[in-house]
Symmetry: C2
C-alpha cells in the first residue's frame, strides 16, 4: 500500500533523456543546478511518501459526499492540503511575479508525478489550479491577475475548468451556457456544466471557476465561445450565484469530487471575461495543453505505484517452487518467470512513458526559455508533437500496468482492501478526460504531423536514429537484441509516418482517422524504447566509469526487455496503420447486428 | 444496460466453427437436431434477456451482506433463481439418470454464455454447481450420488469448490485443512477456506461443499490431498459444523458472495470422501477443467455485453461531424473512424474468443460421444489443448473489451450509473480464478504441447492451414488481406510451437515458462482468426446461395478487420516467445530498485 517516490530514477531520466544537464549547462534554467533539482525532488518525495500517500485509501473509501450544496472532503485531506501549500509545493511551477517559484516544467512534472502517485485524487486538484494559473497568466487582464493569480499560485484558492455540458463533450462547439453583458464590464453566466473536477470542496475558502460560455450575439460553433472567470465568493465577500448540484458516483478517483455545477439559478453568476470575446477556446487550450501532459503523468504515476505494490507483494508472497529456487519451502512468486514477465512489463512500460512525459516537459521549458527564437519555435513544435503521445500512451499504460498489478496479486488483487484494484479504478479516467485518447490520436495525425510541413516529426525520428546508431556502435552484450528490435520499431514508425504524411497531402481523412490510434501507440513504443536505450547507454557509461550500483546493469536489462518483448509490437501496429484502416465502408456492415 | 442474447450468431458459430451440423449428421448427439438446438437457444435467450439481465445492476449495488453467519442475496435474485431452476435450465447439461437433460456441452456452453452475459454474478453460482455435479458423477460413491446428485442437477441445492487457503492458492500442495476418519465411514473436517464462491447464500435450503483436505497420515504435497463432500445441512436435517466467517469486499461481481468458510469450530464438520483417499486433486481437476471453459465463457459473455452497450451508446450519442456525414447536426459517434475501430475491435475479439470456447466445448462432446476410441482420444486431447486458451485468451479479451467499452462511453463510462464500468470490474476476476491466466499459459506449454508427443498441437495447426487454403482459393474481394495476414499469424504460431517443443525436448524450462504467456496469446489470435475465417467462408457460401441478410457480408468484414488489425500482433508475440524470454538472469537486476 505504501509509495516511495523513485527519486533517483526520476533524476536519471531528467539528466539522460530529458537533457537536464545540457539545459543547465546552456544556462536555460538560470542559476538552477542539477544538485538543487535533486534536492527538490528528494523533499517532494518525502512529502509525497509521508503525507499524501496515506490519503489515497482514505479518499477512496470516504469519497466526497455532497449535502446542502456543500462537499466534504475525506478525513485528513484539508490538513494535508494546507501543509502542502504552506510548504510551497503548489507554487513550484507558478510565475515568480505572483509568488511562484518559477521552477522548470520538467521539475514540476516530476513533482506532479509524485503527488499523483501518492494519491491521484489529491494531485488532480492542483493540476486544475495550475491550468487556471496558466490561462489567467497568459490571457487575463491586469486587474484579474492582481486579484486572483497570487492566491491561485499559492494554492490558497483552487481553480477549475468548466467545459463539458451534457450535449457538449468532445465537441465543445455545441455548448449552451450563456453569458450576458451586464453593462459594467462584468457578465452574467447561466447554465449547467458537468464533470467539473473539484467544482466544490472544503479545502479552501474560495474556488475560481473558469467557464466557457456563449454571448448572445456569438457566432455558432467553436468561434463563438468565450472564457469567463466566475469565483465562488465574489470580491465583496458574498456568494456568487452558482452551486454544486450533484457529485458523480464514479468508478475511481473517489477522493476527487466530480461536480455538476449550476450557474445562474438566481439571475446569473457574475463573471469576468478572460481574453477576448469569442476567443475562449484558444484560452482554454492554453490550460489544456499543459493539463494533457499532467494527465499523462497521472498515467505514469499510477503505473509506478501499481508496480511498486506488485513488486512488494511478489517478493513476499510464496507459492510453488520456481525452477532453480534453492531456498527453503516455497519460493517468492517473484522467482517465477511468468511473474517476472508481468513485473518487467509493468516497469518497462512505466519507464518508457515517464521518459516521454519528461521529454515533453523539457521541450516545453526550451520552448519558453531558449534564447534563440528558432530554438524556441522548434522546441515548441516538438512539445506539441509529443503532448498527445505523452497523454494517450502514458494513460493507456497506466491502465494496462494497473491491471497487470491486480494479476500479480492473484485473488488478493480482486479484494479492495489490498489496494491493487483501486489503482485500476483510478487509472481508467485518465484515458478519457482532457480529451479522450482517441482525440489525442486524431490531434497527433491531423494537427501535429503537419507541423512545419512534416519536418518536426521527421526531426524527431532522425533523433531516434541517432540514438540507435550509438546503441549499435556502443551497446555491450547486455543489450541483447536491443539494437535490431528498436531499429525495427523505428523503421515501422518511419514508414507509417510517411504513409500518413502522404495521406495528409492527399486529403485522405479516412486513412488518417482510421489509423490514428495504432499510430500513436507505435509512436509511443518507438519513442519510449529509444529513450530507454538512452538510459541504458548512460548506465553503461556509468559502469565503464566505475559505478558499481546494480541499478545500472538493471537499466540495461530493462531496456533490453522492452526492446525484445514490447517494442516488437511495432510491426503489427504498422500493418494496422498502413493496411488495416480500410474498414470505412465495411464498418457499418460488420457492426450491424 | 439491456442485453440481447446473440442467438443467431451463436447458432452460426456452432454450425460453422464448432461442427454442430457434422456432429448431428454423424449421430453424435442422438436424435438432437440443429432446429432443436436453436429453439433451446431462443428460449434461453429470452430468459436471459427478460429475467436475469435486470438482476445485474441490482446485484452490483446491493452486494451480498453477511449478518450472523447468514448471507442475504440481492433483491429479486431468489425468485429469479427459483424460476430459472424450475424452467429446467440448471439441469440442461446434467446427467439424465439424475434428472438432467444431458444436452451437449456445446449447447450448455452457449447457454452459459447467456446467463453470464445477463449477470455474471448470477451465472457464477450454477457454474460451480455444474462442477460439483461432474466431480460427484465421476468420482462419488453410489450412495453419495443418490443422496446429492438429483438435487444438484435440478439446482434445488447448489455446490461449491473449496480449494484455496490463505497460504495455498496456485500451489495447493501446501493446504492445511484437516480431515480425520470418524470410524463410521465419515470424516471430520477442520480448517479455513477462503475465496469460496457462493459459500453461503439464501437461494437454496442446502449447499453442498466439496472440500480439499489432508488426512493425518497423508503424504506431503499434492499427493496427500483428499476430496470431501461437506453439506451445510446434514441428511438428518441438522446444521453441519461449518459457517461463513466473512464475505469479501471485492472490485466486482458484487452479486456473488465470496466467502471465508470455517469448518469444524465445534469438533469437525461431517464429510464424506469423494473418490479415493489422497486422490482428491485428480477429482478436483475434473471439475476444474470444465469450470475453466466456463470461466472462458464468462470472458466471452462480459465482452459481448460490454460490446452491446457500447454499440448502443455510440449509435445514440452525437458529437462532432464525421467526414462524410450528411445528416443533420452532429453525427452519432458511431460514424467516427476511431470509434468504429474500437467497436470493431470489441466485436472481433469477442467473436474470436467465442469461437475458441465453442470449439473447445464441441471437442469435449466428441471426446465423450465419439463411437471410436481413437476419435474420443484425439478429441479429448484437442479439448485439453484448447482449454487453457479458451480460459485465458477469452478472459483477457473480456477485460480488454470491457475497458474499451468504457472508452467508447467517454466520461459517461466512468460514471457507475452507466453500467459500462461494472463490466470491467466484473470481468477482472475471470483472469484470476480457476487458475490464473499465467497458470493456464504454463499448463499450455508444459502439459498440453507434449500431448501425443506434439502431434495434438501439430494437428491443430494443420487444421488451421487447411482453412487458410480455402480462404486463399475461395475468399472473395471482401476478404482483403485476410489470407496473407492469417497466414502470417499461423506461421508465427507454427514456428513458436516448434521452438517450444524443442525446448520441451531439451528440458529448457526457463524458455518455456518465460514464453508461455505471449505464446498463449499468439495461439488465441491464430486460432480465433482462423475460426472467423471459417465463419466468413460460410457467410460467403450463404451469399452465393442467395442469402441477402446483411449479416453475411458483415461476417466477412469482421474477419477481415480481425486479420488486418488484430492478428497482425502475431509477429511481435512470436519474437517475444523466441527471443524475448531470455530475461531469467537479468530479471532480478532489472527489478531491483
Amino acid at each position: 500500500m505504501s509509495y516511495r517516490a523513485p527519486v533517483a530514477e526520476m533524476a536519471f531520466v531528467m539528466r539522460h533523456v530529458a537533457g537536464l544537464e545540457a539545459a543547465v549547462a546552456e544556462g536555460l534554467y538560470g542559476d538552477l543546478t542539477t544538485d538543487l533539482v535533486e534536492s527538490v525532488l528528494e523533499e517532494a518525495g518525502r512529502f509525497a511518501n509521508d503525507v499524501i500517500a496515506p490519503l489515497n485509501r482514505i479518499g477512496d473509501r470516504h469519497g466526497t459526499p455532497l449535502k446542502d450544496g456543500q462537499v466534504t472532503m475525506p478525513p485528513g485531506w484539508k490538513e494535508a492540503y494546507a501543509a502542502w501549500t504552506a510548504a510551497g509545493w503548489n507554487a513550484l511551477p507558478g510565475p515568480e511575479e505572483y509568488g511562484g517559484q518559477g521552477l522548470p516544467t520538467l521539475v514540476a512534472a516530476a513533482c506532479s508525478e509524485m503527488w499523483n502517485a501518492a494519491a491521484m485524487s489529491f494531485g488532480l486538484g492542483p493540476l486544475l489550479t495550475m491550468g487556471a494559473v496558466e490561462a489567467l497568466d497568459k490571457h487575463g487582464s491586469p486587474e484579474l491577475k492582481d486579484r486572483y493569480l497570487a492566491k491561485l499560485v499559492s494554492g490558497e484558492w483552487t481553480g477549475t475548468m468548466n467545459l463539458t455540458e451534457p450535449q457538449a463533450g468532445s465537441d465543445l462547439g455545441v455548448l449552451r451556457t450563456r453569458a450576458e453583458r451586464a453593462g459594467d464590464g462584468t457578465y452574467r453566466i447561466t447554465g449547467t456544466k458537468i464533470f467539473i473536477t473539484y467544482g466544490e470542496h472544503d479545502l479552501t475558502d474560495n474556488i475560481v471557476h473558469l467557464v466557457l460560455a456563449r454571448l448572445p450575439d456569438a457566432p455558432a460553433g467553436t468561434r463563438g465561445i468565450s472564457l469567463f472567470l466566475v469565483p465562488k465568493i465574489l470580491p465583496d465577500g458574498t456568494r456568487n450565484d452558482l452551486r454544486c448540484a450533484g457529485v458523480e458516483h464514479k468508478l475511481g478517483i473517489h477522493g476527487s469530487p466530480t461536480c455538476t455545477m449550476a450557474y445562474g439559478d438566481n439571475g446569473g453568476a457574475i463573471g469576468w471575461l478572460v481574453g477576448e470575446e469569442n476567443r475562449g477556446l484558444a484560452c482554454m487550450f492554453t490550460m489544456m495543453n499543459n493539463a494533457r501532459l499532467n494527465v499523462g503523468l497521472q498515467g505514469v504515476a499510477i503505473a509506478e505505484r501499481a508496480y511498486q505494490a506488485a513488486l512488494a507483494y511478489a517478493a513476499e508472497r510464496r507459492q510453488g517452487r520456481a525452477p532453480g529456487w534453492n531456498g527453503e519451502g516455497m519460493s517468492p512468486i517473484l522467482e517465477h518467470a511468468d511473474v517476472q514477465r508481468m513485473l518487467l512489463t509493468m516497469k518497462a512500460y512505466t519507464a518508457a512513458s515517464r521518459a516521454i512525459c519528461y521529454l515533453t516537459a523539457a521541450s516545453l521549458d526550451r520552448a519558453r526559455l531558449c534564447p534563440e527564437a528558432e530554438g524556441r519555435r522548434r522546441a515548441g513544435e516538438r512539445a506539441s508533437l509529443l503532448t498527445p503521445v505523452a497523454k494517450a500512451f502514458s494513460t493507456d499504460i497506466g491502465i494496462e500496468v494497473a491491471s497487470l498489478g491486480i494479476q500479480v496479486h492473484g485473488g488478493m488483487g480482486f479484494i479492495e482492501e489490498t489496494g491493487a484494484a483501486q489503482h485500476l479504478r483510478d487509472a481508467r479516467i485518465a484515458a478519457i478526460y482532457e480529451g479522450t485518447n482517441g482525440i489525442q490520436a486524431i490531434d497527433l495525425v491531423n494537427r501535429k504531423l503537419p507541423l512545419s510541413g512534416g519536418e518536426t516529426v521527421r526531426a524527431e525520428i532522425a533523433g531516434m536514429w541517432s540514438v540507435l546508431r550509438r546503441v549499435t556502435q556502443k551497446g555491450g552484450p547486455g543489450f541483447g537484441l536491443t539494437a535490431p528490435r528498436l531499429r525495427g520499431a523505428v523503421e515501422s514508425l518511419d514508414r507509417a509516418t510517411s504513409f500518413l504524411l502522404a495521406a495528409l497531402g492527399a486529403g485522405e481523412q479516412d486513412r488518417l482517422l482510421a489509423g490514428a490510434t495504432p499510430y500513436l501507440r507505435l509512436f509511443g513504443l518507438a519513442r519510449g524504447g529509444v529513450s530507454l536505450a538512452e538510459e541504458a547507454l548512460a548506465a553503461q557509461a556509468a559502469i565503464g566509469a566505475g559505478d558499481n550500483d546494480p541499478v545500472q546493469p538493471g537499466r540495461i536489462a530493462l531496456c533490453r526487455f522492452f526492446a525484445e518483448n514490447l517494442a516488437v509490437a511495432a510491426g503489427g501496429l504498422e500493418e494496422a496503420v498502413m493496411t488495416g484502416g480500410d474498414f470505412g465502408a465495411d464498418a457499418r456492415l460488420a457492426l450491424a447486428s
